[in-house]
């Protein structure tokens, strides 16, 4: 989480400032050459201009890059979890230009006892001792050197695998800090990986999601994102936008040297792109569900078998089941997973007019649960058929929904199907407007549960997600940028249809590229230009 916060904090800076120079991270921030120079610059400038005088348009220099300079250095942190029970192994990671130096002050290889300096071979594990600055042995460790650029951060990285207790890890970390490293900020390793071009922004975000994944499907989706499924789509879209920009802009700067633009080809391409963006947006919903899960409230009048249904679905005896109407007084939760999505089932008290104070509160809670759920399952009993009470309850639920002006999808479950196998079809014809699906179940045998799961996915529009969920999804930030992209493309289409001059088309195309850039984080102008020059024969 902290990583997300940190990345989020830096995103705008990076997007605006990230240019080719930026990727030469070490040179750019070389403290020995840059800082003194900028200092003399500032002091001379202030003496030239004189204090108190105002410049007409703005001050001359863009001072203020110095803030990023402190980001340099070699960082260290414990990268395995702390505070839990003692684990067998824990890792202290060092990254930065001095990582090997720092490590060699802490780590003493067993093979060449006392030999200094330690010259590690990249990706070659060595066994040895960790020493503090006084030379006391503080742990036995394995050192894993990963030298630049073949490392997570593209800097020199050394990982020290220590014994997993908090004491060992903290002592080794402290030794590293004393040896010249500084404590890493939360998420700083990933930030460096991003700054050094090892990851783009959406990949970096997926790493955070993988670390905090709570279900297999969430982890799979994050992995797919890390491996660049989504990045590839964004890159593809961006590339197409740039291509179109190139086509248009080349004709603005070099009018008399190129044939006229084929605008129907342009519109076709834009439509395709629009479609791609829309598809990506569709996954946003799924992503939210992967992260937060789905809440399903089971409601109904008393004694239609809601609790049995919950038990059958969750394969447990979570809820007490009796023949007595009104057994369930409070909301009972059970957890299941539907196609990788964590689902919370809420069994509720049967809704009816009652004088029993406890049951009354239970009924209120049932309604509240129904109001906040993502899906409402209304259960009826096949043996009783569609009763007047069922109708009342349904109308009641509808009223509640109208007051919130948000329609939660509802599914009708006809339980106890074993008691009345020939349940009539006309029952549903009245209700298809309200219930998106109906499923017949038998809680006792577990019949219909699979169909019910399918129906849940269907009403939430998740049925198009391939089974197993091994597919990337977009998060909130990416979703916003995709919406921006889609809007830009929509405006672009209308600009073209209204026959606005072609310069106006570039405005929205650029907007689309900018939005896509914020997903992965790069810079355009020069790219458009170099594409123009490589693609067209231009020049007089």
């Amino acid at each position: 989480m902290a990583l997300r916060a940190l990345l989020g904090l830096h995103i705008h800076h990076l997007l605006l400032r990230r240019n080719p120079k930026f990727q030469k991270f070490p040179n750019y921030f070389n403290p020995t050459s840059l800082i003194p120079r900028s200092r003399t610059l500032i002091s001379r400038f202030s003496s030239t201009v004189g204090s108190g005088k105002n410049l007409i348009l703005t001050k001359d220099e863009r001072v203020g890059t110095s803030g990023t300079v402190e980001g340099l250095g070699t960082i260290a942190a414990i990268v395995t979890s702390l505070g839990g029970g003692p684990a067998a192994v824990g890792i202290v990671r060092l990254s930065g230009p001095m990582a090997v130096d720092v490590a060699s002050r802490v780590f003493q290889p067993a093979k060449r006892n006392g030999e200094v300096p330690w010259r590690p071979r990249s990706h070659f594990v060595e066994y040895g001792l960790a020493l503090d600055l006084e030379g006391n042995v503080i742990d036995e460790v394995l050192a894993v050197p990963m030298l630049a650029p073949r490392s997570y951060t593209r800097e020199d990285v050394v990982e020290l695998q220590c014994h997993g207790s908090d004491v060992c890890l903290r002592r080794v970390l402290r030794a590293c800090l004393e040896a010249g490293a500084r404590l890493a900020e939360p998420g700083e390793f990933t930030l460096r990986a991003f700054l050094n071009g090892r990851l783009d922004l959406s990949q970096a975000e997926n790493i955070e999601r993988l670390i905090s994944a709570k279900s297999v499907a969430a982890a799979d989706s994050a992995l797919a994102g890390m491996q660049g499924g989504f990045s590839a789509l964004v890159k593809g879209l961006r590339k197409q936008c740039i291509e179109l920009l190139v086509e248009i802009e080349a004709r603005l700067d070099f009018e008399d040297e190129l044939p006229a633009l084929d605008s129907s080809m342009l519109i076709d391409k834009i439509n395709l792109m629009w479609h791609d963006v829309q598809q990506a947006l569709d996954t946003a919903d799924y992503d939210k569900l992967l992260q937060s899960g789905l809440q399903i409230a089971i409601v109904g009048r008393p004694n239609v078998g809601k609790s049995s249904l919950l038990n059958a679905w969750s394969k447990s005896d979570r809820a007490i089941v009796t023949e007595i109407a009104g057994t369930t007084r409070d909301v009972v939760e059970a957890h299941v997973t539907v196609q990788g999505i964590p689902v919370t089932l809420l069994d509720t008290a049967g809704i009816r007019e009652t004088d029993d104070l406890v049951e009354k509160i239970g009924v209120q809670r049932s309604e509240a649960a129904a109001m906040s759920a993502d899906v409402i399952i209304m259960a009826i009993s096949a043996s009783d058929g569609w009763t007047e009470d069922d109708k009342k309850l349904m109308e009641h639920l509808q009223m509640n929904q109208m007051s919130t002006s948000f329609a939660t999808p509802m599914i009708l479950v006809i339980n106890k199907i074993d008691c009345a196998p020939s349940i009539t079809e006309e029952l549903f014809e009245i209700n298809t407007r309200i219930f998106k699906k109906h499923v017949c179940t038998c809680a006792v045998t577990g019949q219909g549960i699979v169909e019910l799961e399918k129906a849940v996915l269907e009403v939430r529009g998740l049925d198009s997600i391939p089974a197993g969920g091994r597919r990337w999804t977009v998060n909130q930030r990416q979703c916003e940028q995709l919406l921006r992209t889609r809007e830009a493309l929509s405006r672009l289409k209308s600009s073209i249809c209204e026959e606005l001059p072609s310069d106006f088309w570039t405005i929205d195309l650029r907007e689309a590229v900018l939005a896509l850039d914020e997903i992965s984080g790069v810079d355009i102008s020069e790219e458009v230009l170099s594409n123009i020059f490589s693609k067209f024969c231009i020049g007089k």
């Binding site: 001379r44 410049l55 802009e249 230009l529 024969c537």
Partner: protein
């Protein structure tokens, strides 16, 4: 005697060659290098030493100064601003500086070549025309001279949007130079002198004190603008043959690069080229496609005093043929790039014909424009046909072009290599970060083009003048103008090819149009002091007229009638009853002249003013959106 010594080598050589009394002067904290002359001109070292230590700012300037008569023989040449170079950057810089009241010296290698157009005889074009309008809005000269000396004018990108609409003028190159020279010579406070500057004189505080010329004269000023163009260690190439020159027939400037390097500046080398000129009388135009100027001429300058129409000349279009391509392919090894003897990079947007043919193999033919260079000269500029081929092949190559089968060549195509200073060494005021009071502008900053040079020249000239009297320097924000974008790109990006202004370099170009260059920049020009009362009055009344007209269009409503019928026809959209003229103008394909046609126009407005009104109204939504985007970007900076 022409020594081209690297500074360090020079120091060693001098120390070895000159008698010991000279040596103490090297211990003096001064960074100056005066070696070349001390090798060849005998003088009283005693005097030299004492005069330096007593009066650090004064130096021996001439041989006469070392005679017994003391200082009487030496005239101290002291100015507020010195501009080195008389090209398009130098002229704008010197004029701006002099007009701001600074005593300004323009040093040039050859007074007869002031404001010469060594390449394309044209001003303007996409993005470049915006620069010209902007320079004019700030009180610069390039637009007026181009308006005065045009041979042909065309508006490009007419249908592609108001922001990319661009005026281009073919100019009479001799007339252009003469007119600019006249202006330069008649401007008060501005002094012209021929000199080759070899050194920058630097004071103890890393401040500029003046320049030193090849013939041994020192000129003093607290601000110096270098606009050396292609002259600094320039070398021209035709085929394998090369010679030191800034342009064909003009000697290069030697020594300054080494001096700048010694002062700690990073220099690099760029290459550009110019095509051959052919004799118009030997070209058969009968089969060529003529390209006429616009019937209704547009203007660069916002000053109506310069809107004087003249007869236009025609350009012609021809194309490369199979023979052209074959000749080039057979002789690629004879070109500098493919033969491998010139390394400096040329511009991507100005490739030689061999580059075009090698890189775009599938293209069977390339357009070539034939442009007149003047009304009274036979020279034709063969645009799109620059080449590094040796001269013996050039005529044959020209004769492969339709219409040129029997042509005679007047000047061969050549390439020029020159030193420039990557402009990250300047701040956005164009003052160098290293030496206070030293400004760079024009090709020395790695740009190409007269317009880019003029734009920088104006900024450097204004700031040099302001610096000389202790005023704060001005900076044009990137988002304010193409000039700002140009300079911001130059000082922040790592450019390694000649920089040409292009519309795609501007992120918010809808806001930076030609038509609003004056409302963006003339108030600044006024505040700086380059816009006189007459121009200011013109400007203010123009703005008032535009505002009043927009008000009028908002309030006047029409119902039905011929206008509504024609608008429906043009736009394909229905016209409501009692609709304002403003909403009518917002409809697609409806232009102001439709209002004129039906008697709803305003005769008080000029064509340009009507265009401003139309753009402001028609594209209001887009303009507002770009403005808000700009503000969003600013929040993060």
């Amino acid at each position: 005697m022409r020594l081209r010594l690297r500074p360090m080598a020079a120091a060693a050589a001098a120390a070895a060659a000159v008698a010991s009394p000279i040596i103490p002067s090297f211990l003096h904290p001064s960074r100056r290098l005066r070696l070349r002359l001390s090798l060849s001109i005998p003088r009283s070292t005693q005097r030299c030493f004492s005069s330096r230590s007593c009066v650090p700012r004064r130096r021996l300037t001439t041989v006469a100064a070392s005679t017994a008569k003391g200082d009487i023989g030496g005239v101290e040449e002291r100015f507020d601003v010195i501009v080195v170079g008389g090209g398009h950057a130098g002229c704008e810089a010197a004029l701006a500086s002099a007009r701001l009241g600074a005593r300004t010296l323009l040093l040039t290698l050859n007074i007869d070549r002031i404001a010469w157009q060594p390449c394309n005889p044209a001003v303007g074009g996409p993005a470049k025309s915006q620069l010209v309008h902007e320079v004019d809005a700030l009180g610069g000269e390039i637009g007026k001279i181009a308006d005065r000396c045009y041979l042909q004018k065309r508006v490009l990108n007419l249908s592609k949007g108001p922001a990319v609409r661009a005026l281009r003028a073919q100019t009479d190159k001799r007339e252009y130079a003469m007119e600019m020279k006249k202006v330069v010579e008649s401007t008060p406070n501005l002094f012209v002198r021929e000199a080759m500057v070899t050194e920058i004189l630097v004071g103890n505080n890393d401040n500029v004190e003046g320049v030193h010329s090849f013939f041994g004269v020192d000129f003093y000023a607290p601000s110096v603008v270098l606009t050396t163009g292609t002259f600094m260690s320039g070398k021209i190439w035709v085929g394998r043959a090369s010679m030191p020159a800034g342009r064909a027939g003009e000697s290069a400037s030697q020594g300054l690069t080494e001096n700048l390097q010694y002062l700690g500046f990073e220099t690099d080398r760029l290459k550009t080229g110019t095509p051959a000129r052919v004799d118009r009388r030997t070209v058969d135009f009968s089969g060529l496609e003529p390209q006429h100027g616009d019937e209704q001429v547009s203007w660069f300058s916002f000053d109506p005093d310069f809107h004087i129409e003249r007869e236009q000349m025609c350009c012609y279009l021809t194309r490369t043929t199979k023979d052209t391509h074959k000749l080039i392919k057979d002789n690629l090894h004879e070109t500098p790039t493919y033969g491998g003897w010139v390394e400096a990079k040329g511009p991507r947007y100005c490739p030689s014909i061999e580059d075009k043919i090698v890189r775009f193999q599938d293209k069977e033919s390339h357009q070539i424009f034939l442009e007149p260079e003047g009304r009274n000269v036979p020279e034709l500029y063969v645009q799109g046909f620059s080449t590094g081929l040796p001269e013996r092949l050039q005529l044959a190559l020209l004769r492969t072009l339709p219409g040129l089968e029997n042509c005679l060549m007047l000047r061969p195509a050549y390439a020029v290599e020159y030193d420039y200073l990557p402009a990250h060494q300047c701040s956005r005021s164009l003052m160098t970060k290293k030496i206070e009071g030293l400004f760079f502008s024009g090709q020395i900053n790695g740009t190409t083009g007269y317009e880019e040079a003029a734009a920088q020249g104006l900024v450097a000239g204004v700031n040099a003048a302001r610096h000389s009297c202790g005023k704060p320097l001005i900076v044009l924000e990137r988002e304010s103008s193409y000039i700002g974008t140009l300079i911001d790109d130059l000082v922040t990006k790592d450019l390694r090819e000649p920089y040409r202004m292009l519309t795609s370099r501007s992120e918010h170009r809808l806001l930076l149009r030609s038509d609003n260059a004056d409302s963006r920049l003339t108030p600044l020009g006024r505040e700086v002091g380059l816009i006189d009362d007459r121009r200011w009055d013109l400007y203010q009344s123009k703005q008032a007229r535009i505002i009043a007209e927009k008000q009028r269009l908002k309030s006047v409503r029409v119902s039905g009638g011929d206008l509504a019928a024609e608008v429906t026809l043009l736009s394909g959209q229905p016209v409501k009853d009692s609709v304002s003229l403003e909403s009518i103008l917002k409809k697609p394909h409806v232009q102001y002249n439709v209002l004129d046609k039906h008697g709803y126009g305003n005769n008080l407005l000029t064509r340009m003013e009507k265009e401003c009104v139309e753009i402001d109204i028609k594209y209001e939504g887009f303009i507002l959106r770009q403005q808000s985007q700009l503000q969003q970007v600013h929040q993060f900076i």
